[in-house]
Each structure stands twice: as C-alpha cells, then as structure tokens.
Symmetry: C2
Subunit: 203 residues, 2 copies
C-alpha cells in the first residue's frame, strides 16, 4: 500500500491542495493507529497533515466519519472475501480454507485499516456498528465450522464457536507482527495458518 506522508504531495489530487479524501484517510488511519482513536484530536490530525481543520472538513464531516471510512475499508474487504469463499460450490471445509486464505490476503493488503478495526472498543455509534459487522463475520465463520463438523470434516470434539474464535484470533494476530515485504508472503502466511489450524504442528 502506498503510504502517504505529509511530505508526499506529488500525486494527482482533487479538492483542497495536498490531499484528496483517499490520501487524507490514509494519514488519519496511520495517526489513529499510532495514538489511538480516542487520543487523536482534529487538531492532532491538522498538525500531522499540515493543513487546517477547515481543509479537513472540506473532505469529511467529522473524526467519526474518518473512523467509519477506515473500519469499513477493512470490513468491506473481509465481507467480499467471505462472499467469494462461501459462494464456491464445494464442501464447507474447503470454503473455510478459502475464507482463511482470502482473509489473510485482505489483512495484508489493508493492514492499517484492519489494525484500526481490531482496536475498536465500541465507545461510539460508529464503533458499535463496526463491532456488529465483526460479530456478523464471526457468526459466518462459526457457521462454516459447524457445517464442516456436521460433514465429518472437523473433529467431533471441536466446539465451533470456540474454534472459529481461535482460528480468527490466529488470523487477526497477523496485524500485530507481520509487515509486508518480509521473506514471508501473504500466501505463505495463509498457508502456515491453514496448516496449523487443519493439520496441526505434529508430523
């Protein structure tokens, strides 16, 4: 992802000089991730962006709107991945594997946005809506695990609700330590997660 800093003003732009809605969102999400959403004021954003608050309000109506745009960037990616994975006419276990691969790809491509999403605590209406969508995603995963278990493709002693939370706990942990361009590609990472979850460590 092309990270825009206050010094990077070389690209084509719309609206106020320096930023369009997209590049402004990128910087805002970066600042939210560094300082916490609650700990970031519009003044902080204005200083970091090097533009006035009025110039920010030219693009977005509030800090809340930036948060919503940011978390939806993550959620829309995850739901698109889920829609594609679950549409395939294959057994649930294969759809689950596909969902893991696609979700890891979204995490890696949209790392700052997913990071922001995973730190949302539900303190505002926007955060509540994001948590609702996360829960909807969790239910979808748990449903796939339950279906795969009913098919006999998952061990009978696995609790689908617990297993799906642990599985996505593992997937989501990627935002804490993985940085793109390392020796491990998104596909390697997805494969490592798939292997651990489905086949386990043991030889």
């Amino acid at each position: 992802m092309n990270r825009v800093t206050t010094l990077d003003r070389s690209r084509p732009r719309r609206g106020r000089p320096g930023y369009n809605r997209e590049s402004l969102l990128q910087v805002a999400v970066q600042v939210f991730n560094e300082r916490g959403y609650d700990g970031t004021s519009m003044d902080d954003l204005s200083k970091k962006l090097g533009i006035s608050k009025a110039a920010i309000y030219h693009h977005v109506s509030s800090k809340d709107e930036l948060l919503e745009l940011g978390v939806n960037r993550a959620l829309d990616g995850l739901f698109a991945a889920a829609a594609e994975a679950t549409a395939a006419g294959v057994p649930a276990i294969d759809r689950l594997e596909q969902l893991i691969r696609a979700s890891v790809a979204v995490l890696v491509e949209r790392l700052p946005y997913v990071t922001l999403l995973l730190r949302v605590r539900g303190n505002t209406e926007v955060e509540q809506r994001a948590l609702d969508r996360r829960r909807q995603f969790d239910r979808l995963v748990a449903g796939l695990v339950a279906e795969a278990k009913a098919d006999g493709d998952i061990r009978p002693d696995v609790d689908p609700a617990v297993a799906s939370r642990l599985l996505f706990g593992m997937v989501n942990s990627v935002v804490e330590w993985y940085r793109p361009n390392e020796a491990t590609s998104a596909a390697d990472l997805a494969e490592a997660i798939r292997t651990m979850a489905f086949d386990g460590f043991r030889p």
Copy 2:
C-alpha cells in the same frame, strides 16, 4: 479476580481510606482498558476512584507507575509460567504444551492485566520495557518450537518464528472474547488451543 469498583470499600485497607495500592491498581487498569492508557488522565482516574489526585499520589508516583505495575502483573505471571514449564525434564514438545496451558491460565486469571499489556504500543519508556519483555517471551517460545522441530516432534515445513507467533496470536486472542465463568473453563480453553495447534481440526 475480585473486581473492585468505587462502591466496593468493604475490604481491609492500608494507607488512604478507600483504596490500598492493590485495589487502586485494579481500578486504574480497568479504566486504562476502557479508555486507552493515553486517553486516561490522572483527573479521569481521580473521578473514577472518587478520591483526590493527592490521594492517588500517596500510593503511586505517576500514571506511568500504574502502567508499569499493571503490565508487570501480566509479564511476571507469564514468565513464572514459562520458568515452570521449561524446567520440566521432558521433551521440548511437552514443555511447549505445558507452556500453552500455563499461559492460558495466566491470561484467564490476570485478564485485565494481560489485556493492558497486549495494547501497549511502545510510546513511553515503560511501554518499551514491556515490549522488550514480550519479545523475550516470544524468543523463548520460538526457541521451544525450534527445539521440538529438531527433535522431529514438529513438522519439518513449520517455520518456528512464524508458528510461535501464530500460536501465541491464538493464545492472546483469548483476552478479546473470553470472559471467566462461562461454560468454557480456562482448562477447556487451553485444551482447545493445544488441540488446534498440535493436532489440527481434521478428524
């Protein structure tokens, strides 16, 4: 864990009326987790505790000290678990299993403290020290995975560094959704994690 609120003043106390260092720490950590450490001022703590800032400073020298006490409560528990697990004269794979069980027990027993620890981003010296200790713990886990792999007890295609991060990503995700007193005990949870990591989902 016995959660103390501003209304719970029934227990024996030392120092200023209402709180001792321990119960003050419990409330402070709860507030840090709700609002974020950076987003919490000593004024916020004073209001939440219902005592003056001077009364808080009777027990601790700064907000930073509260953070350090809080994260060390988590880290000390994890390192004690690691010391016990790694001292056993058994193969690395068994020490790793024991470490997972003991770590999950610490997470469940010290949930608010581990939650605080996992949100530390390294913005202050105290946070840097906490991150250093987390990295030390991660290296210890990666070392165990590497040793188990050398013993032939872990698949040759598993990368110890990636696997240990995913493993503890799964373990740490517990703070996001597990609440004590549910139908799932800490031991059930540890067993679910151990099963997924070592044997995988498949029947």
